[in-house]
Amino acid sequence: MKAKFIEEKVMKVVMALTTVLLFFFVGSIIYTIIKEGWPAMSWSMITDLPGGGFYIGKEGGLLNAIVGSLMIVGASTVLGLLVSIPVVFYLNVYLTPKSKLGYASRLAFDVLFGVPSIVYGAFAFTIMIALGLKTSLLGGIIVITLLIIPIFIRSMDEVARTMPRDILAATFSLGATRLQSVRVLVRQILPGIATATLLSIGRAIGDAAAVMFTAGYTDAIPTSLSQPAATLPLAVFFQLSSPIPEVQSRAYAAAFILTVIVLILSIGGRLITNHFSKNRIK
């Protein structure tokens, strides 16, 4: 009789420990990035382009990578939203919950969501070679758009599906078309869309494997779509493999900037959900 109570106590402690482990991992990762990255940070890191001899430890900053990342992610977010918002509405307003097409497309988006970014990168790279394109800002934007669409659709769809179908029935009964009902749906899922967008941007900005193939790397800020563009994750990756300590410390600085951006996006996403849910009918 007593054994089961001892087992209960022991397991409870073990479970609490594994949960604490999560906090330990997050703490250790963020502590490491701050400890290594903060000393390497300076204003010139975020305001200057790499100067001559930057990669042997001379002056300069990471502006090229920051701007490149923002350009790629900004453009793909806009393109991605243009495609995915209509798809989410189609799945949730135009199709009934039992629709076969709905089931099949959700499954397909799950699969696309699971496709590793390196595969997207390799695939996009071969397409670019076939079309005679060089690594460029455009290539980066295209591949990140492809990568981000399934993320957008899946996370928005999850929000849209929680909407009570009665709301739609109410609008239909007033004579609204399905397109007009979309306006009601928008009110319901707007905070969800905002959160989903921010979290997906966070994933897109941190992705290195896909842009490695397609966007290339450069010291300048691209002025046209056909020029290559640097990105933050690659700035970390390339500079960390350098044997020169000054260059390595810049990799940590880039990692620090990247982490700060991602954390802001993730915390911002949370705040939006909490703050803008007032229009929701529960």
Binding site: K4, F5, E7, E8, M11, K12, M15, T18, T19, L22, F23, V26, I29, I30, T32, E36, V83, P86, V87, Y90, L91, Y94, A104, L107, D110, V111, L112, G114, V115, P116, I118, V119, G121, A122, F123, T126, I127, L146, I149, P150, T177, R178, L179, Q180, L199, G202, R203, G206, D207, A209, M212, F213, P233, V236, F237, L240, A251, A255, L258, S266
Partner: protein, 296 residues
Amino acid sequence: MKLKLITDKSAAGVMFSLTLLSLLLVVVIAAGLIFKSMPILEEHSLWELISSSKWKPARGEFGFLPFIVGTLWVTGIAILWTLPVALLTSIFLTENSKRWVKKAVFPILDILAGLPSVIYGVWGIVVVVPWISDWLAPMFVEFSTGYTLLTGGIVLGIMILPLMVSLFVELFSATPMEMREASLSLGATRWQTTKFVLLRKNFPGILATVILSISRAMGETIAVLMVCGNIVQIPSSPLDGGYPLPALIANNYGEMLSIPMYDSALMFAALILFVVVMVFNIVSRVILRRIENKYI
């Protein structure tokens, strides 16, 4: 009155074609990868490619076995240690913990899930690599650089933890309360209820989650590439260096056009990843959907 019906219909058309177009992506990626890997498949048999361990691209020898074994090792280690951790954590969150613990843990999971791969790589190099080379490895082998399969497995595990925990939590929260109450009313402790009711009842879901996590882990590129050594060999222990498939693609895309067949070989590697990930994803999603439909 008519105008609004026309706009409604045409919007339906536009939305339908956008949906179809994005779905086509699966087919297009598959077709593209198959098309590009045809040249190497014509020259060598499929079996030869995946069972040979000779990797000398310049001489036209492409054996993918070291890379496949490397991927299996890293993924295996990652799943092996994360599965119990994720299970126990999610049981704690759904069965035992107070509300505030949940409120504190979910943002942490968000952060873990949101951190870029390359950041995990940096953390792996700064923290895990020295830990293995200075502390763990000397207990078993003479010398280790710290860039090992085990390092890759540890880092990869942390990356898939948030996915696993959130799927498990979803699964356990959807299990009807009555099942637990029935067991508790017979005098079972909470842990006994967990063991005999919750885990048994959710076995298919747990399996599906594991499959999904495996497929996620297999494709991870940059973090693993940064910490696992990238040595072309068939590893014999977790403290050897290894060279998983995604790392192979990422490291060599630059040279792939200068050596004949090399680009085809790399696309074949991407195809292997794509096919495995796709099959695993479909299987696990279908199981998870079925469970979801049963309860809700």
